[in-house]
């Protein structure tokens, strides 16, 4: 039966949903930028027409897009905004401060509506906003309802030529000529050959945009009936480049335009040459605007300063949109490649003695080449995920503007290194934290202008955002020249809230820890600026989750500097493999500052705390063997890894370092192994899991791990299979044995059966968790059900099986004596567990049934998986 047209339409809408949200995001970002740029022209007649035009068109486009997706509220709002913009474009109203504010609110609301639609939340109420926009549009001087203000196109006349400038275009040219720029007319003739070489009208447009501003661009036909394009540009360019461009059929038109332009710009004193058209007495050329800080303040209107802002370029069709998840898949594949290569290397090393030298040499060479290529591939894919941190920085402008609106502070926001590229995931995670920190700087750091004046500081507070990469790290700094962190107040606060006791002294070392404690906030009532759900504790967590480090430096009266160091590679790290007793761990190289050898004689112990002298400072030492209860092998000397923490250096004692290796980080997302000090797991080639140390969070005194416990599994639909009131009559179960009892699990939850191999034990885990195993690219915990059900532990035999069950993204392996049967059980035959059963067992049993004279006990999947939650709370 053919699909109805409605179905087809729904399908199509679903398919383009992703594109829709991405495009809305980009357009809204562009509007934000443009609005900030025109704000400088409030209450003047000199608003940049091109920007206004652009904003108008974007709202028009958004109206169309949201209309397609049937988001009526967004359509209404965009329509109203578009109307107001039209009036501004037609110069029937002047841009006022209220106008800009309303437009910015409108943009904000539009974003919220689209976001609400996406997350299926309630739509915001915009009645007030809509009436504000109406008020503005009603104020227009001309009430005519002329709807097409764009050049009325008369189809009967010849197509427009480059010389037919309209009022706005002429004005633009005039202003630019007055600023000392030249006027050029270029012509480009496209062809299939050029196109194959990558030279087309789009690339030409980009080239021209780089040297100046495109006033007008039109298609035209020449005498030979060839189609070509004319561009009118204001800017300046050297002869050399002009010569280069001729090769790509991009040439200067040298007709007698001068006369024509003389008529257009009668009052201007133009040179006698044919091209370029320029002023006789060139006024001083303006400074390049590229990295100049844009200053925001409400009180002083600066109509003479033109905001030097380059609006974001719309994605050109030379780009491809890629779903981030596809890139993740690619990264995963590369990760597997890395592991396999390491495995290959291990195996080869094993057979090295048996291989003749000549062959070995070739094998080795091929292996090296493979490693290089995999590395390149990995870098290549990572580069695809890279975006400029400028995306984040641009959002800042908006935030700053928002904040300075409400208070009278004057802020000078400076960006350094905005082209620094970082992984898109980092950008997304760090967006809110960075915005929060800038807000803090503005709210608590920068003083009011009067105060600053008294302190002989420039009236504008300076906030610098810097980003730079160094090696495989990216460093982001936020610095302000405000009053610095008030340590006294912080200490008082912290003591009052019992974050620290009266004895502890606060210095730069633990300052950050205190500020980032949950529940600590600098102002009693979070003001509208800072109260948004992101606190410094969340910032710290995000940084640490990304494997990074944050430090702070502050000086009273001078300012503060927050520095965040993040590893560029998320999924693949360079790590050191270290041993402690008979256990191996992986430690990310980034985290280690230095490794030193220590003689036990030089270790001082006091009250169970160990320390050594390192570079004339006291370095506390944490012994992994003690932390993880690993039996120590006696060693004379041992090694200590020096690690930088937010409050200073710390030493982590290990036995020795085995080697250095690239590791692929696999997240340990299961609560069973959600233990402080372990940040993930990896596999290093011999099939066994090696845990990755989270050196930032190793401590003898562990508060509950910061990682949030996952929400308990929704016991909704998956229980239906085992309830006796389901419509289905029978279900398939897989049977396994523990001792003399047979148990069953619904086969829908069983992913596979495996032999029991290579269980890596996890330190400090409950006894019934034997450890973790690697299965199908995933690290999962292995539960010894015998222990949980009160039976004694036995050795694994050849018949032992690991039953891997899986539900709602939770996967767990159950160690069983044997498992091999598939049976069909009639649901009506399932009885609830009898009263006499002890409470413990009751929870894990969902029912009992009889099958061929056998009693089969049916396992409650959810509660087995839920075991974790109750247990880790007891830790």
């Amino acid at each position: 039966m053919p699909e109805s047209y409605d179905d087809i339409e729904r399908e199509i809408l679903e398919e383009i949903a992703d594109d829709f949200y991405i495009e809305c995001d980009e357009r809204l970002q562009e509007v934000r930028g443009d609005l900030i740029a025109i704000e400088a022209f409030v209450d003047t007649d000199r608003v940049d027409k091109m920007l206004l035009d652009n904003i108008y068109r974007i709202f028009h486009t958004l109206k169309g897009l949201t209309g397609m997706m049937n988001i009526d509220l967004a359509v209404t709002l965009s329509h109203k905004l578009e109307n107001y913009l039209r009036i501004l474009c037609e110069k029937k109203a002047r841009l006022s401060q209220i106008g800009i504010d309303t437009l910015m609110s409108g943009t904000q609301r539009l974003e919220e509506i689209i976001s609400a639609h996406r997350n299926k939340n309630f739509l915001p109420d915009i009645t007030a906003l809509l009436s504000s926009i109406e008020k503005l549009t009603d104020k227009s001087t001309d009430k005519s309802t002329d709807t097409s203000f764009e050049n009325k196109v008369d189809m009967d006349t010849a197509p427009i030529s480059i010389l037919q400038l309209n009022e706005d275009e002429a004005q633009c040219v005039q202003e630019d000529l007055e600023q000392g720029k030249n006027l050029y007319c270029f012509n480009f003739i496209p062809s299939p050959e050029l196109s194959e070489r990558g030279v087309n009208v789009n690339t030409v447009r980009k080239k021209l945009k780089n040297i100046g501003k495109i006033i007008k661009a039109v298609p035209t036909t020449n005498e030979k009936n060839e189609i070509s394009f004319d561009f009118l540009i204001t800017g300046s360019i050297e002869q050399q480049i002009l010569d280069q461009w001729k090769e790509d059929r991009l040439t200067l038109k040298t007709h007698n335009y001068k006369d024509l332009f003389k008529n257009l710009f009668k009052d201007m004193d133009l040179c006698e040459n044919d091209y370029p058209v320029e002023m006789k007495h060139q006024p001083k050329k303006p400074d390049l605007c590229e990295d100049q800080p844009v200053i925001y303040n409400q009180s002083v209107n600066q109509p003479d300063k033109k905001a030097c802002y380059q609006p974001a370029n719309l994605a050109s069709s030379n780009f491809v949109r890629v779903d981030l998840s596809r890139l993740d898949d690619l990264m995963q594949m590369v990760g597997d490649l890395v592991i396999d290569r390491a495995r290959l290397e291990d195996h080869l090393n094993h057979v090295k003695p048996t291989v003749p030298n000549a062959n070995w040499y070739m094998l080795d060479e091929t292996l090296q080449s493979l490693e290089k290529k995999i590395r390149s591939l990995r870098e290549g894919i990572m580069r695809v995920r890279m975006v400029q941190i400028n995306d984040v920085f641009e959002r800042m402008r908006f935030t700053v503007r928002d904040l300075t609106r409400d208070n009278r502070k004057q802020i000078n926001l400076q960006f350094i290194g905005k082209e620094t590229e970082i992984d898109k995931l980092i950008v997304e995670r760090m967006m809110d934290p960075l915005i929060h920190m800038v807000r803090n700087s503005i709210s608590h750091g920068i003083e009011f202008p009067e105060q600053r004046k008294k302190l002989n500081k420039p009236q504008e507070g300076l906030i610098s955002l810097r980003a730079l990469t160094s090696g495989d790290m990216v460093v982001i700094e936020i610095e302000d020249d405000g009053q610095g962190l008030d340590i006294e107040t912080i200490v008082q606060k912290a003591r009052k809230k019992n974050i620290i006791d009266d004895q502890t002294s606060v210095n730069l070392d633990n300052l950050l820890d205190i500020i980032c404690s949950p529940g600590f906030s600098i102002k009693e009532i979070a003001d509208h600026a800072s109260g948004r759900g992101v606190g410094m504790d969340v910032v710290k967590k995000v940084v640490e989750d990304l494997g990074g480090v944050m430090t702070v430096a502050t000086e009273k009266g001078k300012g503060s500097l927050f520095r965040i160091q993040l590893p560029l590679t998320l999924a693949i790290l360079d790590a050191l493999i270290v041993t402690v007793g008979d256990q191996r761990f992986a430690v990310p190289k980034l985290a280690i500052q230095e490794i030193i050898e220590v003689d036990p004689d030089f270790v001082t112990e006091s009250n169970q705390n160990e320390m050594i002298l390192y570079r004339n400072k006291i370095l506390p030492i944490i012994r992994l063997s003690r932390l993880f209860h690993i039996k120590e092998t006696y060693r004379r000397a041992f090694y200590v890894m020096i690690v930088q923490r937010s409050h200073g250096l710390i030493g982590i004692a290990i036995d020795r370092v085995i080697n250095e290796r690239e590791i692929v980080v696999r997240a340990l997302s299961d609560p069973f192994v959600n233990l402080p000090g372990i940040s993930g797991a990896t596999e290093i080639g011999d099939g066994r899991v090696v845990l990755i140390l989270d050196v930032q969070n190793l401590s003898y005194h562990n508060k509950q791990s910061n990682k949030t416990n996952p929400v308990t599994i929704d016991t909704g639909k998956s229980d239906s299979m085992t309830e006796t009131k389901t419509p289905q009559l029978t279900a398939t179960y897989i049977l396994f044995e523990l001792g003399k009892t047979t148990y069953g699990v619904p086969s829908q939850f069983v992913r596979q059966l495996e032999m029991i191999e290579d269980i890596t034990s996890v330190p400090n885990a409950p006894d019934f968790i034997e450890g973790v195993v690697f299965s199908r690219g995933q690290v999962i915990p292995a539960i010894n059900l015998r222990l949980r059900f009160g039976l004694e532990k036995i050795e694994h035999t050849i018949r032992s099986r690991l039953l891997i069950i899986n539900n709602n993204n939770r996967t767990v392996g159950l160690i069983t004596d044997t498992a091999k049967e598939f049976v069909s059980i009639t649901l009506d035959d399932i009885h609830p567990p009898p009263e006499e059963f002890s409470a413990i067992n009751d929870k894990y049993i969902t029912g009992i049934t009889k099958l061929d004279h056998r009693m089969i006990i049916l396992i409650h999947i959810e509660n087995i998986l839920d075991l974790a939650d109750t247990i880790s709370l007891e830790l």
């Binding site: 047209y5 383009i16 189809m155 299939p192």
Partner: protein, 127 residues
Amino acid sequence: MKKILIVDDSPTMRRMIKASLRTLENVSFEEAENGLEAIERLTIGAIDLVTLDINMPDINGLEVLKFIKSHNSLNNIPIIVLSSRSDEQTCDIVLSAGVARFMNKPFDPHKLNVQVTNLLDNKINAQ
């Protein structure tokens, strides 16, 4: 193989148009995101049908239309104008240029599909 040129500055819209025409057999798509690029593609050749948006940067769709119609080599390619401007003036201007069809945005995918199919078939018959 018939080539359809989709001209629209919104990637989402271009995708939507492609998706609506997915069921057509023996068709391939080219995309242009502004009027200049559209004309360039048409010049390079072999386009059998154009869907054209009006609201585009630099040079709006109406000017593009005017240019296409004024050029001998280009003016017999069927054009479907898709526009969210539903005012009479625009409508008149467009139709006076002799485009094949004018459709409003948001458009009904099925209708677009039918129109394109018809136009392409007519072209075959006319040859």
